[in-house]
């Protein structure tokens, strides 16, 4: 009597795991060869596994519902008159890295039950080290070390893949991807002659380096050093250290552009009524000592629209895997200052009246231009307007202020021919562009929101006042 283990096979060419759907046998059952033992489900199909042994079921090593790796022993069968597996004692221990048990001598002496087509997936632990491994080739000893010392990965099912150490991007050898064009034979020739193809300037129009050029380069006297042709002295490049606002802006833009999938939508509309409203407000005594601009109405329109679509005033919290719906509207205004771009925000902007909002805007921009914006005003923004119209451009595709779900670009307001009440008339027209984080804002929400802002600017009296 000997105990045989049946290991989960790869039933579908390259699968690594399967879920146990249900056992057809129980401990103590007598089974024949090819009798169905268990049903499993892989990424490809649900299949039944027949028994490779005849005998008595000794133990079921995995339960229904469990997902196990290929190569994991799933059942033990007591087989009469056969030699035991190599490691009979190590019973239900989920022998993750255990050496593969030897096969019964009767069947095939010394055959390891390594499944066809791949080695049993025992990950790196059982892989033998190469003796003559060139030292230089070992890719990242530091990464391995840091992985080893790193705290255990929170996800249980991550046996072999070490939590990827942060890629030392800064230290990575900068292999500039020089895209030289040359046929394989020419590349071979260049390699043989020791010619660096990237040093050759191809004469051909399509940029392909020819055999003759390689041969010429090889024949050329050892690359005439510092023989830069003295063309009329050009003005020298100026190098400015990256620091301060520029550095912060760059980091924020990179972080935003490459984490939040941006979508930008445009809306061109007639804002003549907004222009008229601005004129009317300016004439009112109440607004005499404060700046009133179309930006003010746009800000109000945006705030009003967030009330209708509060989901736009939100934030993606990757770490917590949550979407944060912001309680208040902290309206950021992108401001160009002598020190660079800053985006101070007006906290609780949804509570402000139009007049209060006008004050807040004026103060915010003034403080920013003086470079005195307190840190508190620079953090905690929830949604932003960038007023590119002041520079005379029509619109742009703004990049989100990191952590926010939407940003509105407000373009220049120009008089343009526009169909108004069935006739082409000169009207005040502008283009709004809304970028939003597509992880949490769908096209429908973004579109409806932008439309709502536009509606307010088309008819501000009806919507805002």
């Amino acid at each position: 009597m000997a105990t045989k283990q049946f290991r989960l096979p790869d039933v579908g060419e390259g699968l690594t795991e399967a879920e146990i759907l249900g056992w057809s046998v129980a401990v103590g059952d007598v089974v024949k060869v090819n009798q169905i033992l268990v049903e499993i489900e892989t990424a490809k199909a649900a299949v039944e596994l027949p028994s490779p042994f005849a005998g008595t079921v000794g133990a079921l090593l995995v339960e229904a519902g469990q997902t196990v790796d290929v190569g994991t022993p799933i059942i033990e069968i007591e087989v009469a008159g056969a030699e035991p597996d190599a490691k009979p004692a190590a019973k239900p221990a989920p022998a993750a890295g255990a050496a593969p048990a030897a096969k019964p001598a009767a069947e095939a002496p010394k055959r390891e039950p390594v499944l066809v087509g791949y080695g049993v997936a025992q990950s790196a632990t059982t892989r033998r080290a190469r003796k003559n491994a060139p030292a230089a080739a070992s890719p990242a000893p530091a990464a391995v070390a840091s992985a080893a010392s790193a705290p255990p990965a929170p996800v249980a099912a991550a046996p072999s893949v070490a939590p990827s150490a942060p890629a030392p991007a800064a230290q990575a050898p900068t292999v500039a991807p020089t895209h030289v064009l040359a046929k394989p034979l020419v590349r071979k020739l260049a390699k043989d002659l020791g010619v660096d193809l990237s040093t050759i300037t191809p004469a051909r129009e399509d940029g392909v380096i020819t055999r003759e050029e390689v041969e010429r380069a090889a024949a050329a006297p050892a690359a005439s050093p510092v023989a830069a042709p003295a063309v009329a002295a050009l003005a020298e490049d100026r190098r400015v250290p990256i620091k301060g606002v520029r550095k912060a802006t760059a980091a924020a833009m990179v972080a935003s552009a490459f984490t939040a999938p941006h979508v930008t939508e445009f809306l061109t509309l007639d804002v003549s009524r907004t222009v008229k409203l601005v004129e009317r407000l300016r004439a009112q005594p109440e607004y005499r000592d404060v700046k009133v601009s179309p930006l003010l109405i746009t800000a109000k329109a945006l705030i009003s629209a967030t009330r209708k679509f509060p989901e736009i005033n939100a934030s993606w919290d990757e770490a917590a895997q949550e979407i944060v719906l912001r309680g208040s509207v902290n309206l950021g205004i992108a401001a160009a200052t002598p020190r660079g771009l800053v985006v101070p925000n007006i906290k609780g902007a949804e509570r402000l009246t139009l007049r209060q909002l006008a004050d807040a805007l004026a103060q915010l921009t003034a403080t920013a231009r003086e470079g005195k914006t307190p840190l508190a005003d620079l953090t905690g923004g929830t949604i932003t307007i960038t007023n590119v119209g002041v520079f005379g451009v029509d619109t742009g595709t703004p990049i989100l202020n990191p952590g926010e779900a939407a940003i509105l670009a407000f373009g220049a307001i120009k008089q343009q021919p526009w169909v108004h009440k069935g006739k082409v008339k000169p009207r005040w027209v502008t283009t709004l562009a809304l970028s939003f984080d597509h992880r949490l804002v769908d096209g429908e929400l973004g579109s409806r929101f932008l439309r709502e802002v536009g509606r307010a600017l088309e008819d501000p009296a009806a919507v805002l006042l």
Binding site: P9, E13, N34, E107, V116, G117
Partner: protein, 405 residues
């Protein structure tokens, strides 16, 4: 009308072949291009809506019927041997599937349901006829005398074939879909130039019929009047793609466009497959050129062990074909005609069990190849780059050997 005589040995088979007269040979579609030759008196329907008739000599209930173009005389012994072949091959196939499920094979392509098409056509061949299989022709391999365990090597990943194609006139399994049809035509053209009277069969499936290689082989076979039979096992599914998507006209009717006859035969009727293939081989070897046989059958199992057919076809469809099972059908005939008794069936079943056990132990005993052997047959002659790569791998492997001390 001279019947085709199913012979017991090769000599008789030769005689039987000589006895075939024009009347038993299907007429090329030259005169009436509308239709390939078909049964006149005994047209049977395939049971499927809008499908044309096919040639049938044995109904699903085991009733023997005649066909004017494809007569068949069958001795009781021959009928029993066809039954035996189908049962044994089905068991070989089941063992292959089980071995895959136990991790002993990387893959297995099941022939379940196609036994009649394979045994019928395989038994129609003479030993000197050459077969070019796909990767599912375990039944044809059996007829050509390839030991079943030899079929397993490639599926176990320990060799690239497992038999000498010239020993049994059975080419190696071809994984590339349809390319063997070109090989077959090329071989047939060789036979033609050698002046032999052997014939060649190219096996392929309905899926391969959409492959350029197969259609090119039709063109070449027809152009050179090569002694080749195109034997398509239309098992209704090209993995998950139904034939309805591949065929605007029934497959066998395509032959007319290439200029040779095409017939549809009940692929679950071993007698019809035998008679029709035999006639087609005669057609080929008598210098009349190619012929296309569409064996209308069904793949009862998955495309391969990596496939899950329940995802794309209904169980109703499978059940309707189960009622046409080729083995059940022949057994019904044997019972009806009292050609076999329980002792016979028991003997065959025991033989199948024994064969399965042999295959199992033979599979487990297949030697793992020396890693360096992979270079041996890359080129017929020594090749500098292969030698270099071989040396590299040898050095690499030696690195482990030293480590273990």
């Amino acid at each position: 009308m001279t019947p085709v005589v199913l012979a017991n040995d090769e000599g008789d088979r030769m005689t039987g072949r000589r006895a075939v007269e024009k009347s038993t040979t299907p007429n090329p579609a030259s005169g009436s291009t509308k239709r390939a030759p078909q049964g006149r008196g005994t047209r049977r329907t395939t049971g499927l809506k809008d499908e044309p008739e096919f040639i049938q000599l044995l109904t699903p209930t085991g009733e023997r019927i005649d066909h004017p173009d494809y007569p068949l005389e069958l001795s009781p012994e021959e009928a029993r041997s066809l039954y035996r072949d189908m049962v044994l091959v089905r068991r070989v196939d089941a063992e292959g599937t089980a071995l895959q499920r136990q991790g002993e094979l990387g893959l297995w392509a099941s022939l379940l349901g196609q036994e009649a098409a394979q045994i019928g056509s395989g038994r129609a061949m003479r030993p000197d006829d050459f077969a070019f299989p796909t990767y599912r022709e375990h039944g044809v391999a059996w007829c050509k005398g390839v030991p079943p365990v030899n079929l397993l090597g490639m599926f176990r990943g320990v060799n690239n074939g497992g038999w000498d194609p010239n020993e049994n006139n059975f080419n190696l399994y071809t994984i590339v879909i349809g390319s063997q049809a070109l090989h077959a035509v090329g071989y047939a053209m060789g036979v033609q130039r050698d002046g032999g009277d052997s014939a060649v069969i190219a096996y392929f499936g309905d899926g391969a019929s959409s492959q350029g290689d197969v259609l090119e082989s039709f063109v070449f076979g027809a152009s050179y009047n090569a002694p080749v039979v195109f034997f398509c096992q239309n098992n209704q599914w090209a993995i998950s793609e139904p034939t309805s998507r591949q065929f605007r006209v029934p497959l066998y009717q395509r032959a007319a466009g290439f200029g040779f006859p095409g017939v549809r035969v009940d692929g679950n009727d071993v007698l019809a497959c035998l008679a029709v293939t035999r006639a087609a081989l005669e057609h080929a070897r008598s210098g009349q050129g190619p012929m296309l046989i569409e064996a209308f059958t069904y793949r009862m199992g998955a495309h391969t062990t990596s496939d899950d057919p329940t995802r794309y076809r209904s169980s109703d469809e499978v059940e309707s074909w189960r009622a046409k099972d080729p083995i059940v059908r022949l057994k019904a005939y044997l019972d009806r005609e009292a050609l076999a008794d329980e002792t016979f069936y028991k003997t065959v079943d025991d033989e199948a069990d024994e064969l399965a056990a042999q295959i199992r132990s033979g599979c487990l005993a297949l030697p793992d190849p020396d890693p360096l052997s992979m270079f041996e047959h890359s080129y017929a002659a020594p090749h500098a780059q292969v030698a270099e790569e071989r040396a590299f791998l040898a050095d690499y492997l030696a690195g482990f050997a030293e480590e273990e001390h």
